[in-house]
Symmetry: C2
Subunit: 339 residues, 2 copies
C-alpha cells in the first residue's frame, strides 16, 4: 500500500487545477496521508485529510510517495516546484508526477534519486512501442463506452469511474480504462494519450481498449479527454474517439456552463447539448458507428431542486436519459448502457 503525500502547492482549494488531487482523494482516499499547500491555514483539511504547509510538517504522517497533485496548463513545472521535489527526494520519498515535464529525465533529480534510493515515476511517460493504430481495436470483444464532454475538467473521468463502480457492484465484468495521469494514478495502469507523439494518439487508445478487454472487461469505460470543440485539446479528443472505437458514448456536461474555461483568445461558447450529440455521432468512424446513450450532468454548483430541473431539461433537449451519477447514483445512467 502506498502512503501518499499529495503536492498541491497553491492549488489544493482549486477544483480546476487540483484535478489529480481530487481524483485520488475520491477514489484512493485510504492511500493518502497528507496534502501539502503552504497557502492554506494551519489545521485545514480536505475530505478529512490534513493539509500541511511544509514538507517537515508532513513527515510525521510517514508518507512514502509524493504525488504531484496539480495539472498546470502545458504540463510544465513552475520553478519553485523544483526545490520541493528535491526536498521530497532528499527525505526518501518516491515521486509520482503526471505533468508533461518528466522528472525522470531531469539529470539533477535523477542523480539525487539514485543517491537516495527512491523512484521517480512519470505517469504520463508513454510506454515503449506505442505506434499508429492498426485496426485491431475493431476486433476487441467488449462493449466499449467512451466518455466525451462539452469542455475539459467537467467530470468525465469521475462519471466513467462511477459507472464502472456501479456496474461492478452489479456483477458486470466492467473495467475503467485510464487515458490520463489522474486515471492512471487511481487505477494503476493506462496510457496518458495526451503525451504520446501526435500521430500515435489513436494507436495508444487502441492499445488501451485491447488491454481493457485482456483485463477481463466485457464492458469498458474509457476515460475521456478534452472536448471535440476545445481550441487546445480537441486533437487528443478525436484521436482518442477514433482509436478507442466506442459503440456507445456518455456525453458529460456541467449544468450551467456556457463557455469553455481556462482558454485564451476570447469567449469559446459551448454548443447546445443537442448539437453536441449530433456532432459526436456524425464523427464516428463509418466502420464503427456510435451513438450517445446518455447524458451525465455535473450539478455541483446547483441546489437539489435546480439540479433535478437541469437533469429534466437535458432529457427534454436530447431525448436521452440524463442524471448526475455522483449526486444521485449511477443506476439510471447504467441502465442506458445495458447490452
Amino acid at each position: 500500500m502506498t502512503r501518499y503525500l499529495i503536492l498541491a502547492e497553491g492549488f489544493s482549494a482549486d477544483p480546476h487545477y487540483g484535478k489529480t488531487m481530487r481524483g485520488v482523494l475520491r477514489y484512493r482516499r485510504e492511500d493518502v496521508v497528507a496534502i501539502l499547500d503552504s497557502e492554506r491555514a494551519p489545521g485545514d483539511t480536505e475530505d478529512g485529510v490534513p493539509v500541511v504547509r511544509t514538507l517537515e510538517e508532513a513527515l510525521p504522517f510517514e508518507p512514502d510517495t509524493a504525488l504531484v497533485g496539480v495539472a498546470t496548463q502545458g504540463g510544465r513545472f513552475p520553478p519553485a516546484w523544483r526545490d520541493l521535489l528535491r526536498s521530497c527526494v532528499e527525505h526518501g520519498l518516491d515521486v509520482e508526477n503526471g505533468l508533461h515535464e518528466f522528472i525522470s529525465e531531469d539529470p539533477e533529480l535523477r542523480d539525487l534519486a539514485a543517491r537516495h534510493g527512491v523512484e521517480l515515476r512519470d505517469l504520463r511517460r508513454p510506454p515503449a512501442g506505442v505506434s499508429t493504430a492498426t485496426g485491431a481495436n475493431l476486433d476487441v470483444q467488449a462493449t466499449i463506452v467512451l466518455a466525451v464532454g462539452s469542455d475539459c475538467a467537467i467530470g468525465k473521468m469521475t462519471m466513467a469511474l462511477e459507472l464502472d463502480l456501479e456496474a461492478r457492484r452489479r456483477g458486470i465484468s466492467s473495467v475503467f480504462v485510464p487515458t490520463g495521469q489522474t486515471g492512471i494514478a487511481i487505477a494503476g495502469w493506462g496510457i496518458s494519450v495526451d503525451a504520446v507523439v501526435a500521430d500515435f494518439i489513436a494507436g495508444a487508445a487502441e492499445r488501451l481498449v485491447i488491454e481493457g478487454a485482456a483485463r477481463g472487461g466485457e464492458l469498458l469505460w474509457v476515460e475521456g479527454q478534452g472536448a471535440i470543440l476545445h481550441p487546445v485539446y480537441s486533437g487528443v479528443t478525436l484521436g482518442l474517439y477514433h482509436g478507442s472505437v466506442p459503440h456507445l458514448l456518455l456525453l458529460c456536461h456541467e449544468a450551467g456552463r456556457a463557455e469553455m474555461e481556462g482558454v485564451g483568445g476570447g469567449p469559446h461558447p459551448i454548443p447546445r447539448l443537442r448539437e453536441l450529440v449530433e456532432l459526436h455521432e456524425r464523427l464516428a468512424l463509418p466502420a464503427r458507428p456510435a451513438r450517445v446513450a446518455a447524458v451525465a450532468l455535473n450539478t455541483r454548483n446547483l441546489d437539489e431542486v435546480a439540479a433535478r430541473a437541469a437533469i429534466s431539461a437535458a432529457e427534454d433537449e436530447t431525448g436521452l436519459p440524463a442524471d448526475d451519477p455522483v449526486r444521485f447514483g449511477a443506476g439510471k445512467l447504467l441502465a442506458a448502457f445495458s447490452v
Copy 2:
C-alpha cells in the same frame, strides 16, 4: 544549394510511400541529383532524374545530402535502412530524415556523423518550446486557409503549394505554411505537427500561422494532415484545424476514391463530399467560423474527359467551385479565396 540524393529504397515507383520524394521532385527538382532504389532497372529515371541502384552508383552525381524520401506507416526505419544510412554518412553526406524515428538520437549514427563531419537533420523533430495553444492564433492578421481532405495522401500539400504559387505569381503576399516533413523539406521551415506531444498539436499549429504572418503572409496556405474521419490520423487533423484557426477551407479529394487507403480493420468508406463540407464547417471553433470555399480534385487516374466530368459533378454536389489545380491550373480555385 543542396545536392540531394533521394533515398527511396523499394518505393521510388510507389505514389503513396514515395510522398516526400515526389514532393521534393516536383517543387525542388533543381536540387535533386539522383534517386536511390535497388529494385529499379538500370537506366531508369523519375521526372528526368537518374535512378541508381547503389550508393556507389550515386557518387559520380556528387550528392551532398541524402534525403529519406519515403514515409512508412508509423514512421520507423526498416532494419535494412540502417546500413544504407551508415554508408551515406561514411561517404560524407549529410542526412535529412522525415520519419518519426530520429537519426540524430541514434548513438551509433551520431558518433559516425561526428567522425565524418556531417549533419543529421530530423525534419520531424519539434522545435524547443512547443506547448499548448494560447489563443494568440486568433490575433494573426492574415487570411488563413487550411487544406483538408477526404483521406491521407490525396494531394493536400500539392494543392496548397499550387495555390500559393499561383497567388504569388499574381503578386499576392502569399505564404505556404508547412506542417509535415515533406512540406518542411520543400519550404525549408515549419513544424511536423504529427510529431509533437499530442497535447501540443494545436499549439504547434498556432505557432506556425503566427510565423507565416511574420514571414509576410497576408494569405496563408496551411498544409493539411490526415482526414477528419481517418481512423489513424484524425487527431492530428482536428488539432491542426483548431490550432491554425482557418477562415476558409480547401477541401481536397481524389476523384473516384471511395475508401481510405492503407488502413487496417476493414473497409473505411469516404463520406460524400457534401457531407464532408458540412462536417468540416460544423467542426469550426465557434470563435472562428470557417467555410469550405472550394474543392480541389485530384484527377490523376482519369483521362481528361472523365476529369472534367468529375469536376462538374463535384461542383453540382457541393455548390462550390471545383477544379484540379495541378492539371488545369490554380486560377479558378484561387478566385474562390479572393478576399
